[in-house]
């Protein structure tokens, strides 16, 4: 086989690989929600469900980020408010009528949100998050022009504050 033929085959292989890459990662489906005027996203496999906050039970001795607990599908679910968890601004409960259940396959926690926007395809050009040290944010994506902070369930749930001592 001549040198040209090899070159042609190489180029074809590279082109095919490039097309395949583009097809495979064109968009990513994220479950989007709003908290503190910021848009957040979670991969679908990391969302176990969502619920309206009807009856909240306060937990004695709970840290400020543990807003309370609810019963969800027969289990006790801790409700987490990201703002105090990250040490940022506090908001009243009236602003947080909904929770989204985040899971890493082993554990789960309810995260209070202001608004659930549903599942949307976002630009697949997701980059590692290099902003402040908010625990659980792993990447940044874009939904139209708006930046979406992508939460990682594993990172969030592995934070020392959420694990049993």
């Amino acid at each position: 086989m001549g040198k040209d033929a090899i070159q042609i085959l190489k180029e074809r292989a590279e082109a095919a690989a490039h097309v395949e890459d583009q097809v495979a990662i064109a968009t990513v489906a994220l479950s989007l929600f709003v908290r503190g005027k910021q848009l957040y996203g979670l991969r679908l496999g990391e969302v176990e469900g969502a619920g309206r906050l009807r009856q909240l039970s306060n937990v004695p001795g709970a840290p400020p980020w543990m807003i309370g607990a609810v019963q969800h599908r027969g289990s006790i679910l801790t409700l987490l408010d990201l703002a105090p968890f990250w040490g940022t601004e506090l908001k009243g409960l009236a602003d947080l009528p909904t929770f989204i259940v985040v899971t890493d396959g082993r554990a789960q926690i309810g995260v209070l949100v202001e608004e659930l926007l549903g599942v949307h395809e976002v630009d697949a050009a997701i980059h590692p998050y290099r902003g402040d040290e908010r625990v659980g944010i792993s990447e940044i994506a874009h939904w139209g022009q708006q930046p979406v902070l992508v939460l990682s369930a594993a990172r969030l749930l592995q934070d020392g504050r959420l694990r049993a001592s």
């Binding site: 543990m66 289990s75 006790i76 926690i109």
Partner: protein, 736 residues
Amino acid sequence: MDEILRQVLTLFGEEFKEHSLAMAQSLIQADRSDSAEERKALMAEVYRRAHSVKGTSGTLGLFDLEDMAHAVETALIAFRSGERHLVPGLAQKILDGLDQAQRLLEAVAAGADVSDPVLRATAADLLKLAAAADKPAVQDLRPMTPSPEPATPPPPGAIHLTPPPPEPQSQGAELAARAEDAFARKGAQVESLRVSAEQLFNLERQPDELREIRTVIEQRAEDARRLFWTLQGALSRAQRSIEYELAAAIRDQILQLQRNITGVAGELSFRVTELDRELRALRMLELKTLTDPLAKAVFKHADTLRKKVRLETFGAKVALDRRMLQELKDPFVHLVRNAVDHGIETPAERARVGKRDEGVIRIDVEQRGNTVQITFTDDGAGIDLNAVRQKAIETGLLTAEAAAALPEDQLQELIFQPGFSTSAKLSKTAGRGVGLDVVKENVQKAGGRVSVSSRRGQGSRFVIEVPLTLATAQALLFEASGFALAVPLSSVVRARFVDNVEASRGHLEVEGQLLPIHAMSDVIQVPASHAPGTGYSVVVVRAAERMLAIRVDRLLGEREVVVRPLPPEMLRLRHLSAATPLGDGRLAFILSTRALVESLSSSTSFAALEEVARKHRVVVADDSITTRSLHRQVLEAAGYQVETAADGEEALRLLRAKGADLLVSDIHMPRMDGITLTRKVRGEPLLGSLPVVLVSSLDSDADQERAQDAGASAYLTKGAYQRGELLKLVQSLLPS
């Protein structure tokens, strides 16, 4: 067949199906895999499941199945590293055995005999294949790309359990067909009423979800009621007209609607309660369904080892959730088999060290609030810590220096490491490194913990503590500082209203003790609530032999509650042990009474706690509160840590649970006197050498002789006690 055995066989039948299916899948995957690492993991899975089947089948007297599972283990030894491919025919033969075992279990459940010559023949074939596998095999050198395997002629003397396939098939294709067949058989059993634990768990969630719906319906009824009164208010100010009549008619319809909705909510509530009750009954099974079959297994197993062992079980009528029992089954089997294998000595060995020729394994079950404690005690040789240390060094778990420096209790815990076995000899039950790691894993899976303590020459004690999280509990519910809270009823000494006059004293007299009343907000460190009134309610709880009186806002009453485990994020909140859903959608948190009591000593420094731990522990048993208090004061003043019991039974329970360095006991007590207590203590494997001081008001020779016969270390009259003799005696019996 008795009912208990039938229930256990049913449980095992379901479990075996899962094991069989998982083993088949792993074998097929291993057969196809070209990755040594993957094959290793898959073999480990098959091996572990075979070991589990072996243990349980032996316990149930299914000895042919036990032999078959043992043969599977033996046959796979050569392949556990994953370096070698399975030899052709081996996986099929194992699957043949699993199929036949399944048929046997179904037949036994229908009342057939437990022996099965076909299964025995399969086991023999497997052992032959295992022997052949020890030689270097040509098949191990097969290419990376799977190719059709040549048909393997059956070993001489092999018995075909299933007809051979009409056409030659590749090993992989045949195995895949077997797996599909197994799935199909599992799915086809529509006549069976067995329900998997998972399905039951899913069903169990339904009442909670229905309660949430009921709460919403009740809220709608409340909305309708408000609407009615709004309209009623407007109409009362309006002038009569046609519109008025129309609005009044609407008002009446709203009232009717509200009543209908309330009625529906009430009906739903009733049905949910019924459903809950039925589901609970489905879930619960007495622990004796696990412990009863163990006695026979212990007897048979000991017989094969030429040992004499008796199994005694106490308190196994405690009912637990079936899922919990499922998790505990393997640990129970492993612990009694381990005790027979490694613990109890042969009659000759026992005779040499002055023990009775028959060894005793004892299982004590005790419900303690929200937990069940199961203690396995044997009076055998105990754990050889030198062997443990040596094994830890050999396996690279510890360096020689680290092993030498490791305290005994931590050294004992090493036996729970996977693959850790000090048995040099590979036998049917020992030396395979499978067992105690399974015990720990299963107990942890059940949300519990296991610990071991042992004294060389005297025996071992394994304590399994599992929460009643899957079950229900009787609890006292109350409100304090805006929280709905509960404590296990078993730890409640008293709960009552205290009027302002009594409250002004700040303390309460309970069982002859003056208890200061603490605000719940102080104890659990939450903001205080101020509810002015004519008094308040007080709950007195007992834990760790101490009582605590706590002021609460309102008593809600006693109730049987469903205990739900806390999520991991709440495990750091040490006052909380579990939660329970209330009927209105709220959660009540169940408090740990032990943590409540301990929080009063929260100011105690770590050093002080360590000092307490270093003190000698003395248990004082006396039915007179005055004498108990006197003993306590005298001994505590001298630096001893004292726990008290009101009779022999309570003292024995305390000693078994926590041990002690010395026992001081009255002779004449209700339920169990001091003489019986002393005899029992002397008969306990881990308490046998405990110094016992018997104290009596009688200075009679007969009493002294009885005390001596029972094995008391010293005898003291109460007159001598008054002369300060007790302290001298205790000091002489306990080295400083």
